[in-house]
């Protein structure tokens, strides 16, 4: 029983990381109907921004709320700027081009960031500074719960609620929805689509920034290719939850983390990814639009 609860906590904690990254994918998709493959690499740059900022400010070994706040801000700003630049230079010129072109460009940007990262930061793994003391706050027999397990989950849920509020209850959110439905009509009604899209990237990328610091705290090893696998899994999580749906991304992420954990716990660690992805394929066969996705009628 204790083991089961421990597995449950582990799975939720891992899943909340996927959820946080998946939110960025789903948000851009919801507005632009494009998959921003560079998202997970923006996340990587965020981690390095925080790493270098901590070194430069000399707060590597001063865990505490102050350091956490500083690094979060640095990482969010760095990611937002990078996201904005990518949108302006790589995606905006292709706005009118076929969807496939922009998708391929996104893959290109992702590879560019990965390899430029190896060149600039060096390819060997770096050790992320200790930002917050990680404490065991609950111990029951073998079962131990750590603060870092819950921080990420809480932040992911907060981000979900915040995004939902932003999109459904603010003026800019209404503009985003308008652009997503029909960008030229929205433009006629006085919405500047370029600005709204840029805004989407800023919000989505800052989320990656938050994610990078939280993940860095939990798994203190960062390297330029760190976004690859987590990005892939987060993307799958977003699709599983129904891409474009914000609660779907969180649900998908948590399910993904739980299924990985439970496969290792009760089936086989060797075939973890095969079985975890197998479960996801079955779910998608039953619900092709994802768990919370909506079916869209193709206009001909």
């Amino acid at each position: 029983m204790q083991d089961f609860v421990q597995h449950l906590v582990n799975g939720l904690s891992l899943g909340s990381i996927y959820a946080l990254i998946a939110l960025g994918y789903t948000m851009v998709y919801g507005i632009l109907q494009m998959i921003n493959f560079a998202h997970s690499d923006v996340y990587m740059v965020g981690a390095f921004a925080a790493y270098y900022a901590a070194k430069w400010l000399g707060i590597e070994n001063q865990p505490g709320l102050m350091s956490l706040a500083t690094l979060l801000v640095v990482s969010m700003v760095a990611c937002a700027l990078l996201g904005l630049t990518i949108e302006r230079l790589a995606y905006r010129p292709l706005r009118k081009a076929p969807k496939l072109n922009i998708l391929i460009t996104a893959i290109g940007v992702s590879l560019f960031l990965q390899y430029a990262g190896q060149l600039v930061f060096g390819a060997d793994p770096k050790v992320f500074p200790e930002v917050m003391p990680d404490i065991t706050f609950f111990q029951w027999g073998d079962l131990s719960l750590r603060s870092s397990d819950f921080t990420v989950l809480i932040v992911a849920l907060l981000a979900m609620v915040g995004l939902h509020f932003l999109i459904h209850h603010t003026k800019i959110g209404r503009a985003m929805r308008a652009v997503s439905q029909n960008s030229s009509v929205a433009a006629m009604l006085g919405v500047n689509p370029d600005r709204i899209v840029a805004m989407t990237f800023v919000v989505g990328s800052s989320l990656a920034g938050v994610g990078s610091v939280l993940v860095g705290m939990k798994y203190p090893k960062i390297e330029p290719l760190m976004g690859m696998m987590i990005g892939l899994k987060a993307f799958v999580a977003a699709v599983l939850g129904g891409i474009g749906s914000i609660p779907g991304a969180v649900l998908g992420g948590l399910l993904m983390g739980l299924s990985e954990e439970m496969v290792v716990a009760y089936l086989s660690s060797t075939y973890r990814d095969a079985l975890a992805f197998g479960i996801l394929i079955v779910i998608l066969l039953l619900k092709p639009a994802g768990l919370l996705g909506r079916y869209q009628v193709e206009k001909v």
């Binding site: 993940v215 090893k221 390297e223 290719l225």
Partner: protein, 373 residues
């Protein structure tokens, strides 16, 4: 005009083949200078460069300087195949040094064998590597031996009865060590109560560790690479696992303790060499290495140095600098006193030598015992 242009264009690659100059010996090296285990490649490269610079300062071999051509395989099997092909067909090297990772040595060795260019791997311990052909050598011991060393150490020194294994399932090296450890520990009267796996690049190991915790082993054998092992140690500590962690030479990096922090302290691993050795040959190597690079060589740098030294000595003994003659001389290496111990090459082209067991203590590793073949 156009025809002439193309004629020149297409004959360029042929010309470049002729640029092989007679006054230098071209030696190739391939390694992971970038990528996930970049410190492996970079350390090895330092050792190799030290050996080659030393011989060049003394006037080279038979009056010719050695030119080292180092190519980066980014830590990927497919890239290793490409760069070794390039070293042999375009750079015209007479011998190849590399790789650290067994999977990349295995990927590249068939190329060297096909072109009949001798290849010496400094530290690929998987048994299959040298079975690829008679041109493939290594200067390190092989996995069965490392698995045997840790099984013997666990059962005799630590009195381990029940052990768990956590292996990197995609890595030949890790799987090889784990299999031999399991078999040998059983022979010595122990048992394996859990055998789980992960994949290189993973960051979360709590599922496996929670599973292992429920079986309550006396020790956990993790024959992986330092990047993952550091995180595994931390997460094991988080889950309250306090039994000793054991590993192989893939742990040998200063990054291990940077990532694992105090969680990895006290863990044991088998290695080729220790910088604490009092052997004068080793002390001399360390002094020269420090003079050149300013830091203490790790095991991989020492292996790189030994691989290059064995190649250099073979080239000195060979009548002519020809790949087949160099091959024959490498095969004759006997009782070479290297930085990683006394090395003889056996009939399988593997090195016969002893191993050390060290204990992690912060950035340095404390020598515990030597285990002989």
């Amino acid at each position: 005009m156009k025809k002439l242009f193309f004629a020149i264009l297409f004959s360029l690659p042929l010309l470049s083949g002729c640029t092989k100059s007679g006054d230098e010996i071209r030696v190739g090296e391939f390694g992971s200078l970038t990528g996930n285990d970049a410190t492996f490649g970079l350390s090895t490269n330092k050792g190799i460069r030290l050996a080659i610079d030393e011989v060049n300062e003394k006037g080279g071999i038979k009056g010719k300087k050695i030119k080292l051509i180092t190519l980066d395989d980014q830590g990927r099997d497919t890239e290793a195949v490409q760069v070794v092909t390039r070293l042999i067909t375009q750079e015209n090297v007479v011998a190849v040094l590399g790789e650290v990772a067994s999977s990349r040595s295995k990927a590249a060795a068939p190329i060297a064998q096909e072109y009949k260019i001798p290849m010496i791997s400094p530290s690929s311990t998987n048994p299959e590597v040298t079975k690829i052909g008679d041109y493939i050598f290594r200067v390190c011991f092989i996995d069965p031996f490392q698995g045997f060393v840790m099984a013997k150490f666990a059962s005799e020194n630590l009195k381990v009865k029940k052990a768990a294994i956590l292996r990197d399932v995609k890595n030949d090296y890790s799987v090889g060590l784990a299999d031999v450890f399991a078999a040998d520990l059983k022979k010595m009267g122990g048992e394996i109560i859990a055998d789980l796996s992960y994949q290189a690049g993973d960051v979360d190991f709590k599922a496996q560790l929670t599973q292992i915790r429920s079986k309550a082993p006396d020790a956990i054998f993790i024959p992986g690479y330092y990047t993952e092992v550091g995180l595994i140690a931390q997460q094991a500590r988080d889950l309250g696992i306090k039994v000793p962690l054991l590993g192989g030479d893939g742990w040998d990096s200063t990054k291990l303790s940077e990532i694992g922090k105090e969680a990895i302290d006290g863990a044991y691993f088998s290695n080729h060499y220790t910088s604490e050795s009092t052997d004068p040959v080793v002390r001399d190597f360390i002094t020269r290495f420090q003079a050149k690079y300013g830091d203490t060589p790790d095991g991989l740098a020492a292996m790189g140095y030994d691989a290059a030294r064995i190649l250099i000595l073979a080239m000195e003994r060979a009548q002519e600098i020809k790949p087949n003659l160099i091959r024959d001389e490498i095969a004759k290496t006997k009782d070479f006193a290297g930085a990683t111990g006394k090395i003889s090459i056996n009939e399988n082209r593997d090195a016969v030598k002893s191993a050390v067991v060290v204990q992690v203590q912060g950035k340095s590793n404390k020598f515990v015992t030597t285990i002989h073949p």
